[in-house]
Assembly symmetry: C2
Homo-oligomer: 153 residues x 2
């Protein structure tokens, strides 16, 4: 499961991708529009800035902007920043060099071998999906839905 932190991050980034006009957008606007606890969101945005996905501007007229185009920011990158990579066993996490206590020999641990395959599958999806993709898919789904609605009226 991804954490709420990551979900909030993706929602906020999606909002930024859709509503960015070049001017910074306020934390409070993001929090309000996407129903995210204000203070919690702050911490998330800081992490994303440190991760290089966001730029910020302090003081009056300040706020947050995407650091690059939505089509260049992958969902995988966001997940990686907020969860330190997404894997299924400790010993496959990006940052961690540690060996799970369980698998005596990492090279021969069957679980590790299987989960490594799973991780590859996950990563390939996450790395190939960008913020732009995510927003677009959401839009398409919304349009299709309203089309069906029109039709039924």
């Amino acid at each position: 499961m991804i954490s709420k932190k990551t979900k909030y991050a993706l929602k906020a980034l999606g909002y930024l991708a859709e509503h960015s006009t070049g001017d910074p957008i306020l934390i409070s606007e993001l929090a309000r529009e996407e129903n995210i606890p204000r203070k919690f969101l702050e911490a998330i945005l800081v992490a994303l800035r440190k991760g290089g996905v966001l730029k910020s501007k302090i003081g009056k007229g300040g706020g947050y902007m995407l650091a690059s185009l939505p089509a260049t920011i992958t969902v995988g990158r966001v997940v990686s920043i907020l969860e330190g990579g997404f894997s299924l066993v400790e010993c496959l996490n990006d940052n961690v060099k540690a060996v799970c206590e369980e698998c005596g020999d990492p090279a021969c641990c069957g679980i590790r071998l299987v989960m490594s395959d799973v991780k590859k599958a996950i990563d390939s999806v996450l790395e190939s999906t960008t913020l732009a993709d995510m927003v677009e898919r959401s839009d398409v789904a919304r349009q299709q839905k309203s089309k069906i609605m029109d039709f039924s009226i």
Copy 2:
């Protein structure tokens, strides 16, 4: 991340797959050989039995056996029993019909759409890998390693 519970389950099942002679194997043997806390393992084995993966025999000469051949038990099934399916957002979990509070409209939630793809990718690996596969891969890795060892001697 999969829980320790699931890891222990896979280890125990791997042991059963490798050492089953038709006779039941004791919880205490499994616990000892795979370094799993005895009482904790008990609970796991009960879950696996209820999930139809294991059979048990009570009383003297009792213990646990696989309910079917290792090649017919998928890792996905084990994960599903112990974690209620493995997905990345609540609203994609097998058992849960609940909608995440976050995505107002599940049909249009970009995160949900993306994560649904990820889930498909995960499931396709997990469902296509059996206990037999897992054990075999572990064996192959071990053999290769000892081959290299021999070579270097």
